[in-house]
Symmetry: C2
Subunit: 454 residues, 2 copies
C-alpha cells in the first residue's frame, strides 16, 4: 500500500504567466494611504520604496502578467513542484475524504518564499538597483531573498529580528553563505535601532523593529529599495505559480477541490495557492478556502477589518485589512513565519468578502499534526505548514463523521529542517501552548488616532 | 543566460532493477573473513547480522536485481532526481568542458542515503525483523534509516557518535521526530560503552565505538539485525538507482561522460553513481572515474589494499580493501560522512583494478568550492558533496588549459542545510585545514596480527 502518490508536471508546464486576482474580486482593494497625509500614496512615495516593475504589478488591472524568461528559468531549479495524494494520512484518519498537498518543500531555500524572491531580485537587477533591503523574522524570507539576489547578482541587506539572529544561527549562516549581509534588529546601524537599544539594552526585536530599520535604511540610501516577503499584492501575484500548477495537476487527475487549506501569517502562501481558484469559486464552484492560523496570533479569525500600519512604526504605507493592531507583539511561538499582526490586504479583502474562512490552532496540536505527518509520509513539515496539516485533519475528520468524499488540498509551504529545535522541544515534552490571543486586547487599541510610532 | 539547465525523467522511469557490478568486474571480491577464525564467514554468521534478502544480494552473481514495488513507490517521494547542467560554473571557470551533476539533494532525508535505507527497512519489515540497529557519525545515515523505518513501520535504534550527538542536536531531533531511538556512543547501554566511559569519562566516541555498540546490541537481541549505510555490496547495489538514472539522462541528451566524479567516505555514493558505467568503461569507453577524498582521511589515495576490520573493534567481518588502518581516528573535519578509515570493498577493488582514481583535497578549498557553487547556482551542497565539486573544478580547469570539451558529471550527494554551522565557521574565517594524513603513520600499524579490539 502506497503512503503517497505523486503527480508531476513536466518542466515545460512551469506557468508562463502569473495570475492577478484583482480584476476577479467583487471589489477593488482600498487605497494604500501615506502615513503622513492619510491621502492615497503617490507614485513618488512608491518609487522610493520599490522597483518600478513591482509598483506596476501592485495595482495592475490585468488578469495575467507574463513571467520573465529569466525568472521562469530560475523556477526550473525546482518547479513544477509535485502534487501528492496523502494515502497514509487518509487511512490513519479513516476518512472518506481524499487528501492532496502541493509540495513546496523541495525549494532550495526551503519554502514557497523563493517564488517571489527570484522575481524581485530579477527586477532589481533589470532596473539597476544597487541593493534590496528587507526584514526577516524566522528567516525563511531572508534566506529566499539572499539566495535569489546571489543568483541574479544583486546585493541584499537583511535585518533579522535579534532574538532569531542569536537563536537561529543556521539561518544567518545560510544568508551569509550566499554572500549577503545580515544585521540584528534592533542594532546600532540605524537611528531607530540605536534609540531602542538605548531605552532597552538587549532588546530582542520584532518584525516591527526590523521593518522600520529596513525602511530607514532605504530612505537614507538612494540606490536601495525595500523588499517584502509577503503583504503586498505583487508578492501574492508571484506566488500564484503554486496555485496555477495545483489547478492544472488537479485537472489532470479529473479532480475538483472541495477545500483548499493553507496557513496564514500574512498571506503569501494562501494567496498564491488559493487565488487561482477564486474565479472558479465566484463562478459558482463550491470550494471552501480555509486559512489556518496560530491561536496566539489569529489575525483573520479575531482581528478587525480597518486601516492600520503594515509595519510597527508607521514609516510605510497604511492599508485596510484584518489586523490585531500594529502594536500587538505576538508571543514567541515556534512558527515565526505566522507571527504577524496583519493580513495581506488581498487576503483580508477575500476574507471580508466571504471568499475565505479561517480557524486558529494551538501550538501543541499543530506540532502533533506535523509529527504525525512526518512519520506517515517521510516528509518533515515546517511549523507553519503543520498548521495547514492540522486544519486539513480537522476537515477530514468532519468528512468521516458526515461520510463526505470531499477532495481536500493543502499547501505544504516548506520543510522543517531548520526548525528541528522546535520539534526537539516538542519531542522532549517541553513545548507549551502560547497564551491564546484575547479578542479586543490589542485589536481594540485605537492606535490609529495618534499615528503611533511615527 | 541560464545558471542551470535541468533534465528530468518521468516518474515511470524510476529504475525497476538495481545494477549489480559484481559479474562485470575483472575479478570477484575477496571473501569476508570471520574475525575469530579468519576463515570465510559462514551463512550463520551473516544471518545473525543481516536480513536474509540482503545476504542474498551481498554476493549475488546476477547483474540485475528487481526493486520491490513498495520500495519503488517510496522512491517516488523524490525520484527520479534531476540531472542539471551547471552553466554558471562553466562560465565562471571559463572552461570548454560541460559540467553536469546528478542532484540527490531533494531527498527528504537530505542525501542519497535514503536509497538504501528504504530498501533495508522494507526487507526488515518483510522478514518480520523487530528492529534495525545502526551507527551514525555525521547523522546522514541515521536520519535516512529513521525516516525509512518510520515509513515501513520498523523500529530503529541509532548509536550516534557522542561528539555529534551533543554537537548536532538537529540531527538527533530529526531521528526522534520520526519516532526512533538515538543513543550517544559511547554510552552506558552496552558493556563496550560502559568500559570505554570507565576508562575515559566523557569519551567523544567515533564511528568505531558506534559500530561496536550496535554489533553488541544485535548480538544480545535475537530480534535485532544490523544495518549499514555504506561499505557492504548490497548498500552500493541499492545506490545504483543514482547512476542508472544518470546514464539514461545522459543518453537522452546524447552525451557520453568523459569524467564521473563523486566524493568517497566509504563509497556508497561513488559506487551507486559510477558502477552503472563500469560495463561501458570495460567495454572500451574512455571514462575517467574520480573519487574526491578529504586530505585528512584519504583512504583510496594513501591507504593500503589489504585485509582489515570494517569496524574499529573487530566484532564484524574482515574485508580486503583500501584502509588507513582500523585504529586510525580521522581528525574532526566537518565532512563527517567522509571520516572513515576504509573503503567499501567493491570501491576498493575497482580502485585496485585501475577502474577508478582518487584525489584528496584540504578542508578550506572544499568549502571555498561549496560556497562558490551555492552562490552561482542557488543550491547549498553538503560538505561531502563539496569535495566532488572541488574535484570537478580541478578537472574543468585542466580542460581549460588543454582546451578539451570534456563532459564532466558529478554526484551532488546531498544538501548542506544541516551543516550550516560549518559554513558559518568558514564564513567567519575561523575554519582551519585539518592535519593532512601522513602515509604510513597508521596504515602501517600491524594491528591485524593481534586482532586488536576483539
Amino acid at each position: 500500500m502506497n503512503s503517497l502518490e505523486r503527480h508531476d508536471l513536466p518542466l515545460s508546464k512551469i506557468p508562463k504567466r502569473w495570475y492577478n486576482v484583482l480584476p476577479d474580486l467583487p471589489r477593488a482593494p482600498d487605497d494604500y494611504l501615506d502615513p503622513a497625509t492619510r491621502e492615497p500614496v503617490g507614485q513618488d512615495f512608491m518609487e522610493r520604496l520599490l522597483p518600478k516593475a513591482l509598483i506596476a504589478q501592485e495595482l495592475s488591472p490585468e488578469r495575467w502578467i507574463g513571467i520573465p524568461e529569466e525568472v521562469r528559468a530560475a523556477y526550473g531549479l525546482w518547479r513544477p513542484t509535485p502534487l501528492f495524494r496523502a494515502h497514509a494520512l487518509e487511512r490513519h484518519l479513516d476518512t472518506p475524504a481524499e487528501i492532496y498537498f502541493k509540495y513546496e518543500g523541495a525549494s532550495p531555500s526551503g519554502s514557497h518564499k523563493l517564488n517571489s524572491a527570484l522575481a524581485q531580485a530579477y527586477y532589481a537587477k533589470l532596473e539597476g538597483i544597487d541593493r534590496l533591503v528587507t526584514d526577516t523574522g524566522a528567516g525563511q524570507w531572508g534566506s529566499a531573498l539572499s539566495m535569489a539576489c546571489s543568483l541574479f547578482g544583486v546585493k541584499a541587506l537583511v535585518y533579522m529580528v535579534r532574538a532569531s539572529f542569536e537563536g537561529k544561527p543556521y539561518r544567518r549562516d545560510f544568508m551569509e553563505t550566499f554572500g549577503q549581509r545580515v544585521l540584528p534588529s534592533p542594532g546600532p546601524h540605524t537611528a531607530y535601532g540605536r534609540s531602542l537599544l538605548e531605552k532597552t539594552p538587549g532588546h530582542p526585536g520584532s518584525e516591527a523593529t526590523a521593518v522600520t530599520e529596513a525602511l530607514e535604511t532605504v530612505r537614507l540610501n538612494p540606490g536601495d529599495r525595500f523588499s517584502m516577503g509577503a503583504f503586498a499584492n505583487h508578492v501574492l501575484l508571484h506566488q500564484t505559480v503554486v496555485g496555477l500548477e495545483t489547478r492544472e495537476q488537479l485537472e489532470d487527475l479529473g479532480k475538483q477541490p472541495d477545500f483548499l487549506v493553507a496557513s496564514v501569517g500574512c498571506g503569501s502562501n494562501m494567496g498564491g495557492f488559493a487565488f487561482p481558484f477564486v474565479g472558479d469559486k465566484l463562478a459558482g464552484a463550491d470550494i471552501g478556502i480555509l486559512a489556518a492560523e496560530p491561536a496566539a496570533c489569529p489575525t483573520l479569525t479575531s482581528g478587525e477589518y480597518r486601516y492600520d500600519f503594515a509595519d510597527g512604526s508607521g514609516l510605510g504605507p497604511m492599508a485596510r485589512t484584518y489586523t490585531l493592531g500594529h502594536e500587538f507583539v505576538p508571543p514567541p511561538i515556534h512558527s515565526g513565519g505566522l507571527r504577524y499582526h496583519g493580513a495581506a490586504p488581498l487576503v483580508g479583502l477575500a476574507r471580508h468578502e466571504g471568499i475565505l474562512d479561517s480557524r486558529a490552532y494551538a501550538q501543541k496540536e499543530v506540532f502533533e499534526a506535523g509529527s504525525l505527518f512526518a512519520r506517515l509520509h517521510g516528509l518533515l513539515p515546517a511549523p507553519e505548514t503543520a498548521h495547514a496539516i492540522r486544519a486539513t485533519m480537522e476537515l477530514a475528520e468532519e468528512c468521516r463523521r458526515t461520510r463526505r468524499r470531499a477532495v481536500i488540498v493543502f499547501c505544504y509551504s516548506g520543510h522543517g529542517l531548520l526548525d528541528l529545535g522546535a520539534y526537539g522541544s516538542f519531542n522532549a515534552g517541553e513545548m507549551a501552548d502560547a497564551e491564546p490571543y484575547e479578542c479586543g486586547l490589542a485589536a481594540g487599541d485605537p492606535a490609529l488616532a495618534g499615528l503611533g510610532g511615527r
